[in-house]
Symmetry: C2
């Protein structure tokens, strides 16, 4: 047991999610149950706030505010993208000592876990008692040592819903715009893009093609994939990662000399490139959607499971610290069972820091244009229940009379 | 009373909406209550299906399918963008006679009302008894003679939610990306873009700036507007219509020689143009979202009021036809009252056809960068209840110790 009385600091780092505040509330509410934890301080914009001693007193927040925060997207403390410099750590130790900070929690991704690990190691090396625990968070779902990451399930629910809805729209449009691209977040890890496959109820439902950054694909294959789907179904809906690569590992649409039929250099990202290429090559009307930051902030589609897990990892981080642990990240461990069942665990931050867990090849189909059943079994439970049911007409055609 | 026994055709035209199938179900269910209506046929891809005699027998659909269709976005019959040619009308009359079509319903916008009107006039001029009624539908909300258009309220609920969620995300990011643009549908009518203002709970909430196509604005003013908001609040969220114009009435970002700081010609639409301009001029990190077709197809955020009104205009169109009327469009008439109350009416299609009801100047603020309270009073009820409540921390800062 950590019996040292002292103060707690908690911060949020990196890209927000639709459920990240659940982890914050979990930390606060659990901390209140531990008498050795005195002040509960929030870092304003993460580690940067700590360096500048900008912190808020979270004991001042009402229970009602904390409950409503669980519905609220984005990082209530403010977030930051700041790579901590070696010279910063001494300063951080000063701050910890000045404020008698004994409990440190950082809600974030790989970089944040690296920062938390270095803080834990620094405190140990200086003989300063400090319990530093990482709280996993990322819509990219790319943290090592955990089955999945809080934030991912809700983002996956959003992108699956979005591709399905835009798919119905595209089908309805017929030949007036039969090809639709949607650009999905995840520059290096295709977990979210792959999750659009959860929109499928039958094999011919959108998304018809899915391109992940893990598996480079030639523009020639994309053109022939779209052509094949369009000729078979009369429309084609494509989910493509913002970081999709060609066969040489270059970003698709990186603008390195890609020219359209008129010799214009193509600018913009991957969807603009694919959109223009299909227009030119297949002479089909194409459209694209770029939901952008809605993918990580659309709180109306929080996954109930994701929301609860995000809350629990916050609580458990505090419990681990209160038990005297440090230098660990809370993990989610899927249990072998028919129904979805998880246990929570801890992993040394050193095994998580700066690692990137990308989509394994067994989750990508042999053509590199879709996902496998194994992936579906993995991802399905995380979105927290089936999507809203839709209907299609049975289309009994009326006999022609003239 | 129209006593002529005969068949009914119904079609969906133009851009789909999140509730357009409610109008279709309204037509079908009401038609079943009128013995003089025999076949209930759906045009496959609108008027084009009629020209090619591609119709489905809607009496074959189960009640369960019809109920689930009310939750289903996009046009279940398939839609079309086809401007009917004068030479097509003779062919249409042939089809009406061949199929004994006496009841014609077209769910759509201005063009569709023009088509419906011409069909009604043609039948009259040929002495062929035909009851042709228009069913209003458009997320653009730009039909004349009606207080608002089915489809608008749900799209407005989506864009208000989207801008609020991305606004929380932008606030959380702080200076790592303090400026966010969202491009909103409505090339000529700014109703949807204006509706993002429904996300505001306080004057300083996002969206901070709103630019509509009805009111041209110089790029210089946009730059100074963004600069003012950023310096006052530390971030700035902008809702801009895809059809926003400059002071000379040209599309912003139309690419007519717009160059960035490096002399590159700027391509892409209005948000790409504004994004690059603010980066260059204010040296601020900017981001943009382009939710695109999600705005009209995101069924998870159907407005309950919009959904019900879309259903009723379908039912009432059939009732009007059964009463012997033709050449009319069903309208929604707001009643003067404290609480939202409407009546349904009819307007001659000739007064609706090809007209465009844009946002009136009294709904746009004097600077042309936001909306008035009058607009809020108009639009608020249409999204069907308040948005999900969110919380912010009260931010009691901890006293600095070093």
């Amino acid at each position: 047991m950590a019996i040292t009385r002292g103060n707690l600091v908690v911060g949020q780092s990196g890209g927000p999610t639709a459920v990240i505040n659940n982890s914050l509330v979990g930390v606060i509410q659990e901390a209140m149950a531990h008498p050795q934890i005195e002040g509960i301080y929030g870092m304003v914009h993460g580690i940067q706030g700590l360096l500048h001693e900008e912190m808020m007193d979270l004991r001042q927040e009402t229970p009602a505010t904390l409950e409503t925060l669980r519905d609220t997207p984005a990082s209530a403390l403010g977030t930051v993208r700041y790579k901590v410099k070696d010279t910063d750590y001494e300063r951080l130790l000063e701050v910890f000592i000045a404020y008698n900070v004994r409990y440190f929690f950082y809600i974030g991704g790989n970089d944040s876990m690296d920062t938390t690990n270095k803080i834990a190691q620094l405190a140990l090396s200086k003989g300063y008692e400090m319990h530093a625990i990482g709280v996993p968070k990322t819509v990219d779902n790319d943290l090592a040592e955990t089955d999945h990451c809080p934030g991912f399930g809700s983002a996956a629910r959003f992108v699956a819903t979005a591709i399905r809805d835009t798919g119905y729209d595209t089908l309805a449009m017929g030949d007036s715009s039969p090809v639709k691209f949607m650009e999905i977040m995840g520059r290096n890890a295709g977990w979210l893009t792959a999750s659009t496959a959860l929109a499928k109820e039958t094999p011919d439902d959108p998304p018809h093609l899915i391109y992940l950054p893990e598996r480079g694909i030639s523009i020639e294959q994309i053109v022939s994939d779209v052509e094949e789907v369009y000729h078979r179904l009369g429309y084609c809906v494509v989910a493509v990662s913002e970081g999709a690569k060609d066969e040489s590992g270059e970003d698709l649409g990186s603008g390195r000399g890609d020219v359209d039929a008129f010799g214009h250099i193509l600018k913009g990202g991957v969807v603009e490139f694919l959109d223009q290429t299909i227009k030119d090559r297949l002479k089909l009307r194409t459209r694209y959607d770029k939901p952008g930051y809605l993918q990580r902030s659309f709180a109306s589609l929080q996954s109930p499971i994701d929301r609860e897990e995000a809350y629990q990892v916050g609580r458990l981080a505090v419990r681990a610290a209160a038990e005297g642990k440090t230098g660990q990240m809370v993990t989610i461990l899927r249990q072998p069972s028919e129904v979805y069942h998880i246990e929570y665990g801890l992993a040394p931050l050193a095994q998580v820091a700066n690692k990137e867990h990308v989509v394994p090849m067994e989750y990508i189909n042999s053509h590199g244009n879709g996902v496998t059943e194994e992936f579906i079994r993995y991802a399905r439970p995380l979105i927290g229940g089936p999507l809203k049911r839709y209907a299609r007409l049975s289309k009994h055609l009326v006999a022609k009379r003239s």
